[in-house]
Symmetry: C2
Subunit: 296 residues, 2 copies
């Protein structure tokens, strides 16, 4: 069997249980970010790697600086999901030997711009020539206070579900120029008890069931409340993917205050209540308009 | 101008000065490992990424588990050079969609074996399908005590130069199965004041001038003392590369004790004095048998 037939997700599921761990690891492969103890520190070390591949995550029609921005912004969006502070990045670029240096310089301009926006230092990496398509792999290290880390796992029945921004239509351009919601995530965990959080990379229709499954719980969403990018249908808002907005769950006792404070803090970015987490019995199927998703 | 014409080293030299840094960074791109402060800790965070590419660092004739071992061992060898302790690894594999899953499982076996040898946890990563050759990128995070970190930069006139193991002939197999000298480096910095250190990846003839240049100093080597792999000529020991042994400089007052203690501690691995660092006037050229190397 080859990689195409098995699929990347199933390969990871097959391999992840056998990966070596050590006593410092708190969260490893399979979580949005890895978390580990660092000697002598109260804070946790946070690690994430992500790559963008030509023909999968961008085309050669895209501006090189946009591609560089996206390559850096994707792992930073995972830091936002964990309420972590990114600090250092390592960049590996694999490109055909015939790649124009001016194009590579554009990639670095985009990487650098995104890094500077979030005070991330680019501390190493390499460029390697191959025959294949361009791949840009970015590994990011940073930190999070133990009491402020968030994952997909902590959702409870009754928690209300919110998303930031507007969903859908990202392929028209936003997927190359999105802003990782790090400031918003850090503000949220400073002022509220966020039960569970993730970033929306594959679309609400794929990602919300993952959050619910990680929290071993069900969900109810009112499709009509989902905030849509202008010109997008509900289906597109649910299914397009690459929104890189935050999806989070918070106790109902905090949600009204959250909405009011958010408007003051981030007047240009909406936050929208779209539903809630509910008790789920084993094997229940729950519907988002894109179709049914099975729960364990 | 394209990547082949410019070359990867010159691209890095062009780009490195413009990369963003922040106040936590102590050593960035251009050093063997990146070093940075971590909040609340006396120890430094150490980061390194390295990739192996099919057709450059291995061929499909190699056993998959050997390729996986090498992919993990290369960045670990850089940790040895810095006297750092590796702890966590992120692995990105880019491979053609037709790659056999059994072969990828072999890669992971090798990665895992090398990680376990050094108590490194594999905490994340991904596999992405492309049309190009196989690339395996491994990013490693770890730590080092401030007073035990070593770089290429600290060599002084009079320091004696040592190498571990035997050099040359690595392409016959050792390049796939070498053991990063982490235990040896940690022992060295626990018991001795190591002035400068690096791992030999491109061969003594290329790497020693780099250590000397980073320390702004010259060197003298007696070719006849260079420890050679059985069957190798001096030229091969100097030029073959991929030895992944340690090259280090230490004050002459410590070197006799070092030799005696080393034999007790590592009876199976030789350490050999090959020469010393000497004052160098600007523009001096110094000879290793492979040719002349220019010094600033």
């Amino acid at each position: 069997m080859n990689l195409r037939e098995l699929g990347e997700d199933r390969l990871l599921a097959k391999i992840a249980p056998g990966l070596p761990l050590n006593r410092s690891v708190i969260a490893g492969a399979g979580d949005d970010c890895a978390l580990a103890r660092f000697p002598g520190s109260d804070q946790l070390l946070v690690l994430k790697t992500d790559c963008v591949v030509e023909g999968v995550h961008f085309t050669r029609a895209a501006a090189a600086s946009d591609v560089g921005w996206k390559a850096m912004a994707r792992p930073l969006s995972d830091f936002a999901a964990a309420s972590a502070v990114p600090k250092f990045a390592l960049v590996t670029i694999i490109a055909p030997a015939v790649t124009q240096v001016a194009w590579l310089a554009g990639i670095y301009r985009g990487l650098t711009k995104a890094a500077r926006c979030f005070d991330v230092a680019i501390v190493g990496g390499e460029t390697s020539a191959t025959r294949g398509p361009v791949c840009i792999s970015v590994s990011v290290a940073g930190s999070v206070e133990r009491e402020r880390r968030v994952s997909r796992r902590g959702g409870k029945a009754g928690d209300e579900l919110f998303v930031t921004g507007r969903l859908g239509g990202s392929r028209r351009g936003k997927h190359l120029r999105f802003v990782p919601r790090i400031a918003e995530a850090r503000w949220l965990t400073k002022h509220f008890r966020v039960a569970a959080m993730m970033d929306l990379s594959d679309g609400l229709g794929a990602d919300l069931p993952r959050l619910a499954q990680a929290s071993r719980i069900g969900f109810e969403v009112d499709d009509s409340t989902i905030p849509r990018t202008r010109g997008c249908t509900v289906e597109q808002a649910i299914s397009d993917g690459e929104d890189y907005e935050l999806l989070f769950a918070i106790a109902p006792s905090e949600s009204s205050e959250l909405e009011a404070e958010w408007r003051r803090q981030f007047p240009k970015l909406p936050v929208t209540r779209i539903g809630r987490l509910v008790k789920s019995s084993g094997g229940v199927r729950q519907k988002l308009r894109t179709g049914y998703v099975h729960f364990e």
